[in-house]
């Protein structure tokens, strides 16, 4: 990547900061059997005997995982091992894909703020935006730090949680 390329890339990344999605609704409500699979994966064992009709407690971060890729769309995680993948079609939280020619993706961490418990049967929607995008020089070449936010709502429009994730492209 040349200096000129870096300048163009920087301009492009700057323009993407603040880009947001409309409020999008998950394909299906919080569903009991999916919650149980999620609980098995995370070995989350908490029950709430007073919770009707199902004592299963929906784990804190479950709403984040309700937004699936479209049917027949490739697994974005599998793209990393696809020799033809150039990283240009990767999107975050439904935001417009960042056209950055970097194939590798690292999870730089996340911040969650919880506001309300999700319940079985809840409809969940999300709004997302790019909070910050920075180009840095690493030992192995340029890296792009992408910070994006997701705010999750239940069917009554109440905020369930907000998340801020940092992903590193290289």
């Amino acid at each position: 990547m040349t200096t000129t390329d870096d300048g163009e890339l920087l301009d492009y990344l700057q323009r993407m900061i603040g880009v947001r999605t409309p409020r999008m609704t998950a394909l299906h409500p919080v569903e009991s059997s999916e919650v149980r699979r999620f609980r098995q994966a995370t070995l989350f064992e908490m029950l709430d005997p007073e919770s009707e009709p199902d004592p299963v407690v929906v784990p804190l971060a479950f709403p984040v995982h309700m937004f699936r890729r479209p049917l027949n769309a490739p697994d974005p995680l599998a793209l990393m091992t696809d020799p033809d993948c150039d990283g240009m079609d990767r999107d975050f939280n439904g935001l417009p894909a960042l056209k950055v020619p970097m194939k590798r993706l690292l999870n730089g961490g996340y911040r969650y703020r919880f506001s309300k418990r999700a319940r079985i049967g809840d409809t969940v929607s999300r709004e997302a935006r790019y909070v910050d995008i920075r180009l840095k020089q690493g030992r192995s070449g340029p890296m792009v730090f992408v910070e994006y936010e997701g705010v999750y709502f239940n069917g009554e429009g109440e905020t369930l949680l907000s998340s801020t994730n940092t992903m590193i492209l290289r």
Partner: protein, 126 residues
Amino acid sequence: MKLASVVRRIELEDMALYAGGDNLHGNAEAARAAGLSAPIVQGGQLGGYLHEMLVATFGMPFFSTGEVSLTFLKTVKPGDTLTSGGTLTKEVPTDDGAVVDLDIWLTNQNGEKVVVGRARAQRKGP
């Protein structure tokens, strides 16, 4: 203040349930194709163990008042055993308890910290 520590042995089956079975987080072949010796646990799954510790410690109010910030330091692979921990860094009394800040972490079976972070919670009672 004692936190409800969580100890978990990670199995590939759980990783595939969480992340899907056709990528480097849940499939050995995909991991090898990515240059990894084994699948690595997805960050959100690791966060889940810390979330469980916080919910077990602070109860249901954590669902409406809790905050968590995590950074991932080392990869975690099938067969690893993780233990959650934390320490109180700040406590501000309120009318019915306190707002507490914590440093939190997950260590592997070698005592290495694989995830570190901070949390804020409201604690009820004295």
